[in-house]
Symmetry: C2
Subunit: 204 residues, 2 copies
Amino acid sequence: MGVLDFWFDFASTYSYPAAMRIGPLAATAGVTVRFRPFLLGPIFQAQGWDSSPFNLYPAKGRYMWRDLERLCADLDLPFRRPQPFPQPSLLAARVALVALAERWGEEFCRAVFRAEFGEGSRIDDDATMARLLAPFGADPGEVLASARSEPIKARLRADTQAAQEHGIFGPPSFVTADGELFWGNDRLEHALAWATRLGSRGRN
Amino acid sequence: MGVLDFWFDFASTYSYPAAMRIGPLAATAGVTVRFRPFLLGPIFQAQGWDSSPFNLYPAKGRYMWRDLERLCADLDLPFRRPQPFPQPSLLAARVALVALAERWGEEFCRAVFRAEFGEGSRIDDDATMARLLAPFGADPGEVLASARSEPIKARLRADTQAAQEHGIFGPPSFVTADGELFWGNDRLEHALAWATRLGSRGRN
């Protein structure tokens, strides 16, 4: 069976439709997906950017918001622009690393994206995290404490460095077992096709 | 019938597959396409870039070349990286404006892209332009003289400004009659679908 790493930053706009689409598409393609949150900030800083390129380059930003609105309409996804943009995603990424050790981790990640880009909520405070964790029967206090523990902090740093070493420069990105990189929500289908071919080659 | 403006710069890598794909896809969708060459240089300069972002941001550049190679393989298009990159595209854009007044204009544009990204040829000299014009029975000397005439120079400047006014920040871009902007080879299908819907609404 093919495997695909789905690298995303919760602050990333196009990671929202990708997170919503990847489950059913991967199931159809027979590909196992691993959700890999990381932080784009250090990677952007390495490129000399102190904010999202969508803020730094206004024409690009205007286009992106309109494009995302159209995409969400096509996919029947709610859309609301979060303020401020980008949302600080450090806390959500750490909480997600804790959550992804549980069966409901991916569903939690989708809940974060839905809150942020579907409802326009902030995602950088404990109250939102607690509200989003509650439906899964997790103890928000415990999860938040784990999220702030040294092993999780170190894990996120290591994962962010791993993303950079894979050549990732923007989210969402998809990496197959042989290291092929696919960038952007609109490359999801290509990435899954590559992972499927690779998986069936491995089986023979 | 729907109409779609296809804005491209001959220096732009992803404009190559877009130029090769747009004809048959537009015919199937029942959309009339207008080829609109423009110059990205002034638009990049307005964003503070003195070269292609694929050169300025090496991780992005490495990814783009690999992605383009994969895309061309999927589309059965020859691919060879031109040196230097980006190719100065001023001459080709002016020649294309002359050519696009003829029935063979679009085919000439595809020939330029094929020479540049399929054979790795330079496109910034008279000899290449003459070689690419020859199969169409045009007199290369006459076409090149027209290409350097004041009206064509002014037209390219005006078109480049029009592209910027449409919000275009990178090629290829597609603009429908109601001003919707779609950016990137991978948005071609969306742009055609939009143009088709618009065209059929206009008919009712």
